[in-house]
C-alpha cells in the first residue's frame, strides 16, 4: 500500500514534467501544432503513409491524417468540407467542380504517377509477351479470342503461343486503375472510344469482374489463358508476368516507374492550365515512354479559410512534390518529371488565405 502511494507520487511528478516539456515549445513557437486531414485515393495511400510520417519526423508540429476511402469519396468529402484535402486518380469532372463551387474554387496538384501493367496467365510462355494498343483493345473488346491469334503472333515472332481461349478479367469496383486503362484503350482504338469509352467504371464488352487488385490477380492466377490489368506496384510485388507495350516511338516497353515519368514528361507540354489531364496514350519520341500511365492529384480549395492550416497544407504539399518524391521509389511510384513539378509548384502558389498567397514565390529548398 505504501509503495503504491510512493509510486503514484512519482508518477504524477513525471506527468507534470512531461506536460511542461510538451507544452512549452508549443507555446513558444509561432506555428502551433497542426493536424491536417485528407481523404481519397487508395492508390496514393502507401506513398502518403510513408511520406507524411517522414514529414512529421522532420516537422514535429505538423501531422497528416489520411483516410484511404477511394477517389470519388475523397472528392465528396472535400466538397462537404469535412477534410482539408482530397486525393484522386481521376481529375474532378465539371459536375464535381460545380458542386465544389466552380472551376476556380479548387486546384489540382499532381503528386505522383502510376503505371498500369497488363498481366496474364500463360505458363508455357516464358519471355514477356509483346502487345500494341490495337491488340490490347481487340482482346478487351472480345474480338481477339485465342492467344495464337494472328495479331498476337505477328507481334511475338519466335514465341510458341498456345491456342488457349483468352479469358478477360476486369475490375468490378470503380477504380482509378480502370480509368487509366480505359483512357489508354480509347486513345488507341476508335472502336473502344465509341463503344465503351473511358471512366472509373465502364460497360465491359466481355469478361469476368472481380473486386480489387487482389481479386483480378486471384482470378488470373486460377484461370489459364486469363488476362487483366493491375497497377504496377501490385504486379511487381507479386511478381506477375507483365506484357511489354508498344509506345509511340515504336519500342516495346515493360511497365516501370521510369516509363511513367517519361510519359508524363512527354505530355507536360500539352498540360492545360488547371493541370487536369489524363496522360494515358501519351505520344512522344522518347523510347522510354510507357503509355498506360496516369497522374494522381491532391485537390484543395484555392481560398483557405484557416490561414494556419492552409499555410501548413501548402508547405506539406510543396515538400511532397519536391523532397517527398524520393519516398515513392521503393513503393514503385513514379517520380514527377521536373517539367510537371514546376507547373505544380506554380499552381500551389495560387492558393491563398484572406487574399494572401500562402507559399512564397521562390521554390522550396
Amino acid at each position: 500500500m505504501v509503495r503504491r502511494v510512493i509510486s503514484w507520487w512519482r508518477l504524477s511528478g513525471l506527468l507534470v514534467l512531461a506536460l511542461t516539456a510538451v507544452l512549452n515549445p508549443a507555446v513558444a513557437s509561432a506555428q502551433r501544432n497542426v493536424t491536417l486531414t485528407g481523404a481519397g485515393s487508395s492508390f496514393d495511400n502507401p506513398l502518403f503513409t510513408k511520406a507524411f510520417s517522414e514529414y512529421t519526423k522532420q516537422h514535429s508540429d505538423v501531422r497528416v491524417n489520411y483516410q484511404s476511402v477511394g477517389s470519388g469519396a475523397g472528392i465528396k468529402q472535400l466538397t462537404e468540407k469535412t477534410v482539408d484535402f482530397g486525393a484522386t486518380d481521376a481529375p474532378m469532372n465539371d459536375e464535381q467542380l460545380k458542386a465544389a463551387g466552380g472551376a476556380d474554387a479548387v486546384v489540382h496538384i499532381p503528386v505522383t504517377l502510376g503505371a498500369v501493367a497488363i498481366t496474364y496467365n500463360l505458363p508455357s510462355v516464358k519471355e514477356p509477351l509483346k502487345l500494341d494498343g490495337e491488340t490490347v483493345a481487340g482482346i478487351f473488346l472480345g474480338e481477339i479470342t485465342k492467344w495464337n491469334d494472328d495479331k498476337i503472333t505477328a507481334l511475338n515472332p519466335g514465341v510458341d503461343l498456345p491456342g488457349t481461349d483468352i479469358a478477360v478479367v476486369t475490375r468490378s469496383d470503380g477504380s482509378g486503375t480502370t480509368n487509366i486503362f480505359t483512357t489508354y484503350l480509347a486513345s488507341v482504338s476508335e472502336t473502344w472510344k465509341s463503344k465503351v469509352g473511358a471512366g472509373t467504371s465502364v460497360k465491359w464488352p466481355v469478361g469476368i469482374g472481380a473486386k480489387g487488385s487482389e481479386g483480378v490477380a486471384g482470378q488470373v492466377k486460377q484461370l489459364e489463358g486469363a488476362v487483366t490489368y493491375v497497377e504496377l506496384s501490385y504486379a511487381s510485388q507479386n511478381q506477375l508476368a507483365t506484357a511489354q507495350i508498344k509506345n509511340s516511338a515504336g519500342t516495346f516497353v515493360a511497365p516501370s516507374a521510369a516509363g511513367a515519368t517519361a510519359c508524363a514528361n512527354a505530355a507536360a507540354q500539352t498540360m492545360p492550365d488547371d493541370l487536369r489531364i489524363m496522360i494515358a496514350g501519351c505520344a512522344g519520341d522518347d523510347p522510354a515512354i510507357y503509355p498506360v500511365s496516369g497522374f494522381s492529384w491532391v485537390v484543395l480549395y484555392t481560398d483557405q479559410k484557416d490561414a494556419t492550416k492552409g499555410q501548413a497544407l501548402v508547405t506539406v504539399l510543396d515538400w511532397l512534390i519536391h523532397d517527398g518524391q524520393q519516398y515513392g521509389a521503393d513503393l514503385d511510384y513514379a517520380p514527377l518529371p521536373g517539367s510537371v513539378v514546376a507547373k505544380a509548384t506554380a499552381k500551389l502558389q495560387t492558393v491563398t488565405a484572406n487574399g494572401r498567397p500562402l507559399l512564397a514565390a521562390s521554390p522550396a529548398a
Binding site: 470519388g72 469532372n93 469496383d173 465502364v202 486471384g218
Partner: protein, 327 residues
C-alpha cells in the same frame, strides 16, 4: 426491506388492495411498459427513416428513369444509362437457390441433432454449427474464391453439364465463378442460421407429446413427421425466413464469386451481379450525382424486394399452418 415489502404485500392482500408507495408495482409496470414500447417504436421509426432516406436519395434516378429502371437491363456508367433488372434477377435467383439447398439440409441436420443423435454429440455439434454462423463473410468469400470456385469449375460444372446439360439451367461456358458459385457459398452461409434455429424449435417440442406418440406405438419416423415437425412448423418457417434475409443482403462473399457482370441468363453457369454487390462495388467511386442516386435507388429496391419476399414467405406459412396465428 424485502421483509417489510412482503409483510406490506401480505397485509395489503388481506385488506384486498395493493400497497400504495411511490414505487408501487403498478407504476413500475407502467414505466417498464412505456420503456419497451419506446424500444419497439424505435425499431419501427428506424425502418421508416431508412425507407424515407432511400426514397429521398433516389429522387434524381427516379425522375431520370421512372419505372423503366426496374425492367431495363442497360448498365453503362460512362453513358449515364442505368437499369436494375440484372441486379434484381441476380439477388433473387442466388437467394432462392441457396434457400432451396440450405432448407432441406438445415432442417434435416436439426432433426438429426434433436431426435436421433446420441445425447453426448448434441452439445459439441450444436456449438460448431453456431460457430459457423459467426465467421465473417469475407472469410467465406475467400474460401469460396480459392477453394469452392476451382472445384465448381473442374468438377461440379462438367458433371452437371454432362448429366443435366439438356436443361438451359446448366449450359454455357464454365467459368467457375457465376450465379451457381454465389448460390453455393450463400447456402453454406445460411445453413448455420437455419440449423441452429430449427434445432432450438424442435428441442422445444413438449416431451409429453413425443412420449404419448411413442406410447401409441408410433415409429420414430411417425413421431418426427406427425408430432415434432407440425409442432415446430412455424418456428422452422421463421428460421428459413431469417436465412433468406441473410442471403438477400449478403455482399462481400457474393461479390467475390459471382463474376460481377450484369446480365440475365437462364443458366446458373452464367456470370451475374446482385443489388448488394453492385452498391459495394460502385459507391466509393460513383463520380456523378446521378450514378450515386441510381445506387441509392437500387438500395431502395433491395429494401422492397426483401419486404416482398418476407411477406410472401409469411403468407405461405399462414397458409400451411392453420394454428400459426394462435402461437
Amino acid at each position: 426491506m424485502l421483509d417489510t415489502f412482503v409483510t406490506t404485500l401480505a397485509e395489503a392482500q388481506r385488506a384486498g388492495r395493493r400497497p400504495r408507495r411511490w414505487w408501487s408495482p403498478r407504476l413500475a409496470d407502467r414505466v417498464f411498459a412505456g420503456a419497451v414500447a419506446a424500444f419497439a417504436a424505435a425499431i419501427v421509426l428506424l425502418t421508416v427513416l431508412i425507407a424515407w432516406e432511400l426514397w429521398r436519395g433516389s429522387a434524381a434516378a427516379r425522375h431520370a428513369f421512372g419505372f423503366g429502371f426496374i425492367t431495363s437491363t442497360q448498365w453503362d456508367p460512362v453513358a449515364g444509362v442505368f437499369g436494375a433488372a440484372p441486379f434484381i434477377y441476380g439477388t433473387v435467383v442466388t437467394a432462392i437457390v441457396a434457400l432451396l439447398l440450405a432448407g432441406p439440409i438445415g432442417i434435416g441436420a436439426a432433426i438429426f441433432l434433436t431426435e436421433l443423435a446420441p445425447r453426448a454429440a448434441r452439445g459439441p455439434v450444436g456449438f460448431l454449427v453456431e460457430m459457423l454462423a459467426a465467421i465473417p463473410s469475407v472469410i467465406y468469400g475467400l474460401w469460396a474464391l480459392f477453394v469452392l470456385v476451382p472445384v465448381v469449375r473442374t468438377h461440379l460444372q462438367p458433371f452437371l453439364a454432362e448429366n443435366l446439360g439438356f436443361l438451359p439451367l446448366f449450359s454455357g461456358p464454365k467459368y467457375g465463378v457465376g450465379l451457381l458459385s454465389a448460390a453455393l457459398v450463400l447456402t453454406v452461409m445460411i445453413l448455420p442460421t437455419v440449423t441452429a434455429i430449427s434445432q432450438s424449435v424442435l428441442a422445444a417440442v413438449p416431451r409429453g407429446q413425443r412420449e404419448a406418440a411413442h406410447a401409441l406405438a408410433a415409429t420414430r419416423w411417425e413421431v418426427i413427421t406427425g408430432v415434432s415437425l407440425p409442432f415446430a412448423r412455424s418456428g422452422i418457417a421463421g428460421a428459413l425466413i431469417l436465412g433468406l434475409g441473410r442471403a438477400l443482403g449478403e455482399t462481400m462473399a457474393v461479390t467475390m464469386v459471382i463474376g460481377n457482370r450484369p446480365g440475365i441468363s437462364p443458366s446458373l453457369f452464367a456470370l451475374g451481379d446482385t443489388m448488394a454487390s453492385v452498391i459495394a462495388n460502385q459507391f466509393n467511386e460513383a463520380d456523378s450525382a446521378l450514378f450515386t442516386s441510381v445506387l441509392v435507388e437500387i438500395a431502395l429496391l433491395l429494401f422492397v424486394v426483401t419486404v416482398l419476399l418476407n411477406l410472401g414467405a409469411r403468407l405461405l406459412v399462414w397458409r400451411l399452418t392453420p394454428h400459426a396465428g394462435k402461437r
